[in-house]
Assembly symmetry: C2
Homo-oligomer: 363 residues x 2
């Protein structure tokens, strides 16, 4: 596999190093993987040989249409990402990341997560015989932390906002010399997300005009953009669908920066949309670039609208986690802003199962 | 659609009647649907036109192999049935049953369930704009009852063993004249289960020799048998895979009767495998016939073995509900009994998501 790392900020290239998180030259400085082989491959580019990919059934998620419920747009397609080994879209990324970890001889690692990525990484790690330490906020719903424990990972509950878990895991890794295999920094995770784009292309060709994505750290946005871009470079599509970014009030660093509006994190902010409660996403500039290049919008929605939509879609037979419902509030906003209209074929990922945070809903 | 009802006991034929639960002529007397069109159709026979089928993404579940963990048999394939709208295999049946309910003008109905079928029927009903009343045992895990409520159904919690919910719903329906749309009696539900067999044939041809199924009321066994039998009649397969039946100690009417061993329900019996805690399955003779005709075994496993396997498979990245783990205990038993061996390609459905009853596991 001829791959290189490229810093997403300074564009410097370097040989791939699974354990290297950041480029020393720049501030926000994660890596991207790029493929030296320049031919137009007919299949998805992956940084792990197909014989080495650990599979638990991830990907190939089904789509259903809610066209009748959204008469102001041409179609609303829900891609049900919770049809997945650990019931969230993160499994696409974990499959590739943990496969690469195994190839790199990892026997134990640590990671921080709001819950879904932690559960997902734990499942793949345990299947691969790798010990995982998962650092998650104390307020993570018990279904997610129970999943993590059932998969055999060691759970470290960290008080305070999500960012504290990141700081705690970094400290832990420094002290123990256990590698920090972060799904937000490590570019192998992003590569796993690309299959989302390929599946949409395979099912709908170029029919989908807009994709509305809930954004915390933005791995799905970056992965989808990379996937569609590969398809574009290979001559299969002419245009990348608009990749709209939806964040929740109180946690909108990406949408605000994207719209040139000053933003500072208020540590008293809280939300039940825990999957997007991220105040300091390391790939912020890369996510904004995906929004700009796909000519999309980055918006902020209200907590109340998310909770209302969460209930509404359950009545249509889609029980998502609260975070996932943000995209429906987003679609409504984009319609009101006239960013999407009767010609738009809109696709939304339903990123996680409602079984994951029922305890936060049933009061 | 040219279909008829046929009593599973006395074989008398009658015109299909969606609301008729039993044949008056015999005791255990559910109906089976059969198709008058005798040509060898190339597609699955369904009693509802494809344009009328309500779909929420059910079916086409992925398979993964645990070959390395079961060296005494040729292969162990897990078909992950919890990749499903409501995270259980019941969605296959509910899709067809609720589609038929809608065609028959149902606006409100009642049903009894240990939880999974209730959640599943609620989701499809709510998508179809139909009001559902779900009668479930008081001890049903909260994830399942919360699902039912989120989908907008009315939950009726009934104290005592599973059988009490059946009695309560029958009384309710008699008093209110709301139709009893029972997934255990109504043959449309069984027809939805057939896709399980078709998918196995499509993916593996005739490679799978044995299928090990957890049996409560036995809808998956009956549905799988019917599906494979259609494939056999159509000349696509020569032999139906062995459809082994696994029940749990305390709730083994089918396995015991199948082995000609007297059995009586002890009302003090309890199990955490709630999905198969059935003492009086209406299709008992039909299930036994499927076991006999496929030359399979009907066995009983211990609660403790189920709980141990539940933990073991989680460590392999498969977090199932407790009930689902019964099949792994069953595979172990069948190996020990020499019913399956190094030549056997064994498939097990993993019927439900572990997120559904984590509260019963994490103590």
């Amino acid at each position: 596999m001829n791959i290189k790392y490229r810093c997403i900020e300074c564009n410097r290239e370097s040989p791939p190093d699974f354990f290297r998180l950041k480029c020393e030259e720049s501030d926000y400085s994660c890596f991207d993987i790029f493929y030296e082989k320049k031919e137009h491959l007919s299949e998805i580019h992956l940084p792990v040989g197909s014989e080495d990919v650990i599979k638990l059934g991830e990907g190939n998620t089904p789509c259903i249409s809610l066209k009748d419920n959204f008469p102001k747009i041409n179609d609303l397609i829900c891609k049900l990402e919770y049809f997945s080994p650990t019931s969230s879209f993160k499994d696409r990324g974990s499959s590739i990341l943990i496969s690469a970890a195994k190839k790199n001889g990892v026997l134990e690692f640590a990671e921080d997560s709001s819950g879904n990525a932690g559960a997902s990484m734990s499942a793949y790690a345990s299947h691969a015989g790798i010990k995982a330490h998962i650092f998650a906020p104390e307020i993570t719903p018990s279904s997610k932390t129970d999943q993590i424990k059932m998969f055999g990972a060691e759970l470290h509950k960290i008080p305070g906002p999500r960012q504290n878990s990141t700081e705690a895991v970094k400290k832990f890794c420094k002290e123990t010399a256990i590698p920090y295999v972060s799904h937000n920094y490590n570019p192998f995770f992003i590569e796993g997300m690309k299959s989302f784009a390929y599946e949409i292309y395979e099912e709908y060709g170029e029919l989908v005009s807009d994709i509305v994505i809930p954004v915390g750290n933005g791995s799905l946005t970056v992965g989808a953009f990379k996937g569609f871009n590969e398809l574009k470079v290979a001559g299969k599509i002419k245009k990348i669908p608009k990749l709209h970014c939806v964040q929740v009030k109180g946690f909108s660093p990406i949408s605000n920066k994207s719209n040139n509006i000053d933003w500072e994190f208020d540590t008293s902010s809280s939300t039940l949309a825990g999957g997007i409660a991220v105040s300091d996403p390391p790939r912020i500039n890369q996510v904004i670039q995906c929004v700009i290049e796909s000519e999309a919008s980055a918006i902020v929605v209200d907590e109340e609208d998310i909770l209302n939509w969460h209930k509404k879609i359950a009545k249509l037979g889609i029980l998502s986690e609260i975070t996932s419902a943000a995209v429906f509030a987003g679609v409504e906003s984009l319609i009101n802003m006239n960013k999407i209209n009767e010609e738009s074929v809109v696709l939304v990922p339903v990123t996680g199962s409602g079984l994951k945070d029922l305890s936060n809903v049933m009061i």
